[in-house]
């Protein structure tokens, strides 16, 4: 398994998209830290990049990679290796390459310029987000045979999690504004990995605002150890569940 992952990883690194992604992140992060007068403002811009770019690139790259290595996968399956193992190796190599790109492109600048608690949370949630999105992309790709359809579904998923979901949340909050919704919003964040990442970072960045009104409740919850376990646990679920579904469907699939 290790050998297989290694070869796929070499292959991914050789196709240069990942290198370009690393370069892009590195350039943007360095530029932001050098241009903005204080590092917290740079972190804020990085957060925006993290919430848009990282899910998008992770999802699109994983899907395209899956379709491109379809023939390779078929070839591998002719060997005595189990299907789940092959898919897991594919997932692992994609995930590792994307996480490496994030660590080099964003992790190093953050470490250099703003190695506080906020920066650490930013990188950690970035890793979680990358893995969760890759996992979602694999599930969508395995489910649809047609490449165009697969990419379409993945784009729609990204659009849903990045934008539409928050719109729905806001609509719900306004429709039911007569009811106490504080606890309910906590549940709502769990259904979107991007929101989960956003809320974790926000708690480090906007402490003063969050201590007002209902914010104090969020702070109490997410700031406590239960909250950290909750966030971590849900993020892990977002990584493992789609991966499991992808592997299951890949196992039964007529290739």
């Amino acid at each position: 398994m290790f050998k297989l992952s290694k070869y796929i990883l070499y292959d991914i690194i050789r196709n240069k998209v990942i290198l370009a992604y690393t370069g892009f992140l590195l350039l943007v992060s360095l530029l932001l830290f050098n241009l903005e007068e204080n590092s917290s403002k740079a972190i804020l811009s990085l957060l925006n990049i993290q919430l848009i770019t990282i899910p998008l690139i992770s999802m699109i790259f994983s899907t395209i990679h899956y379709y491109n290595s379809y023939e390779f996968i078929e070839m591998l399956l002719a060997q005595p290796i189990s299907r789940t193992k092959v898919l897991f190796c594919e997932y692992l190599s994609t995930g590792i390459s994307l996480v490496l790109a994030l660590l080099i492109g964003m992790g190093i600048p953050v470490l250099l310029y703003s190695s506080g608690e906020t920066g650490f949370t930013l990188i950690l949630t970035g890793i979680g987000l990358t893995l969760a999105c890759t996992s979602l992309a694999y599930w969508a790709a395995v489910k649809s045979r047609d490449k165009a359809r697969g990419i379409g579904i993945v784009l729609l998923l990204w659009f849903y999690f990045a934008l539409i979901y928050d719109g729905i949340v806001m609509m719900l909050l306004f429709t039911f504004s007569d009811y106490p919704l504080e606890k309910f919003t906590l549940v709502l964040t769990a259904f979107n990995p991007i929101d989960l990442a956003r809320v974790s970072i926000m708690l480090k960045m906007d402490v003063s605002a969050l201590m007002g009104y209902t914010g104090a409740l969020y702070k109490d919850f997410f700031g406590s150890s239960t909250g950290i376990f909750f966030t971590g646990g849900i993020m892990l679920l977002w990584i493992l569940l789609p991966l499991y579904l992808a592997m299951r469907s890949f196992g039964k699939k007529d290739l």
């Binding site: 306004f174 003063s208 007002g212």
Partner: protein, 419 residues
């Protein structure tokens, strides 16, 4: 202000003269202590005549309630301890030209019926309370109906956890020409409390970890407070129902909570807030029913909301302030805005300056759409920093619909104001 200062300086020099020069020269000094002829403070006060000094040597004194009603100076040498045994008010004084200085007050009594204090001053003129340490009191220093009270360099420390079980650190009621200078107050209900106190000054105090307000003003006009530090109080500072209050060079920091404000202004008029520093408060300044205020040259940094200006405020001026790193710069609760904003520096400003006059060429609208949404439905705070929100904000900036159109800084500064 100028005339007020002059009268105060006259009064101040008057008290210094009377206390430092007249008493030691004109009066006797009565020594109280274990090794002295007079063993108890009570006896010392009794034998003293107006103008005398009662000098108390270091040691522990449990004498219940001491009453001073003549012009004497009660001075502690080596910080003698006066213990109220949790049941007595330690010193009660009234009269004129009285000084209490250099003691350590412990455990004065608490009562729901009487406002017990470590030092209580009623119906007095020219009183000096200085250099005392007051620990575990109900009210620490309670002054009422007094002209020219001076409270200086005292350290006041309370241990109460709930608002009901404690009084205020320095409590003034119906006084004028008071001076509160250089005190450190913590752990009381309100650090400094003013009600019906006029022509007074509060300077260089440090008020922290009080259960309610660091400083609480009610119906107190023509007062001046400067160079104070209010940190981490339950609800920050409140200034209510007063006019002509000057607030300068104060620091308001770390006042966190659902109803915590750097300054809460309620029904204030003709006052000035200048060169203060607001950092990491949930709300920097919350303003309602206030008019004709000038808010200038203040620094607002890393607050949740730098300013909350309710629609009930009018004719206020906000100028030459610096806003950096705040989650929300300005929030309001209506579309009407009768206040002026000009020449402030906003770090969220995205305009340009083509004619290089250091003012941005396009006006800045400090109220974001999201700030209005959160004002209406606070639960929406969970969507902070969401991409959807930034898109909505951008759209609103282009075509304003729910943010107040005339809440605008026509001349935003490109670089921070020098303060």
């Amino acid at each position: 202000m100028r005339t007020l200062n002059r009268t105060q300086i006259q009064r101040f020099s008057g008290i210094i003269l009377s206390l430092l020069f007249l008493m030691p020269l004109g009066g006797r000094t009565i020594y109280v202590g274990e090794t002295q002829v007079v063993k108890s403070i009570k006896a010392g006060i009794q034998t003293a005549k107006p103008g005398d000094t009662v000098l108390v040597e270091g040691g522990l004194y449990k004498e219940g309630n001491l009453i001073i009603n003549k012009s004497i100076a009660l001075i502690g040498k080596n910080q003698p301890v006066l213990d109220g045994e949790n049941q007595y008010e330690i010193i009660t004084l009234s009269g004129k030209n009285i000084c209490v200085s250099g003691f350590k007050f412990l455990n004065s009594g608490a009562s729901a019926m009487n406002d017990f204090a470590s030092i209580k001053c009623i119906d007095a003129t020219s009183v000096l309370v200085s250099d005392n340490i007051i620990v575990n009191a109900y009210f620490a220093i309670h002054i009422s109906n007094t002209i020219d009270a001076q409270v200086k360099n005292n350290i006041i420390e309370g241990h109460s956890k709930s608002e009901q079980n404690t009084g205020n650190g320095i409590h003034l009621w119906k006084c004028n020409h008071a001076m509160i200078v250089g005190n450190q107050i913590s752990g009381h209900r309100d650090g400094i409390y003013f009600e019906f106190v006029t022509e007074s000054q509060i300077q260089n105090n440090y008020s922290t970890k009080n259960i309610r307000y660091g400083l609480h003003f009610m119906f107190s006009h023509n007062d001046f407070y400067s160079h104070n530090d209010f940190k981490n109080n339950g609800a920050g500072v409140a200034v209510m129902y007063s006019h002509n209050v000057q607030m300068e060079n104060n620091t308001f920091e770390d006042n966190w909570g659902a109803s915590a404000y750097g300054i809460l202004l309620k029904d204030i008029s003709d006052s000035k807030i200048q060169a203060n520093y607001f950092i990491r408060n949930t709300v920097g300044i919350h303003m309602e029913g206030s008019s004709r205020m000038v808010v200038e040259k203040n620094k607002f940094q890393d607050n949740g909301w730098a300013l909350k200006v309710q629609a009930s405020c009018n004719d206020n001026q906000f100028q030459f302030n610096n806003f950096t790193g705040n989650t929300f710069d300005v929030a309001t609760n209506g579309t009407m805005m009768l206040n002026t904003f000009t020449s402030n520096y906003w770090d969220k400003y995205e305009g340009y300056d083509l004619n290089k006059d250091s003012y941005g060429d396009i006006p800045y609208h400090p109220v974001s759409m999201y700030a209005m949404i959160v004002e209406e439905n606070p639960v929406c705070l969970i969507l902070l920093r969401s991409i959807l929100i930034s898109i909505l904000d951008k759209a609103e900036k282009a075509i304003p619909s729910i943010t107040p159109e005339n809440l605008v800084d026509e001349k935003p500064k490109m670089i921070p104001n020098r303060i």
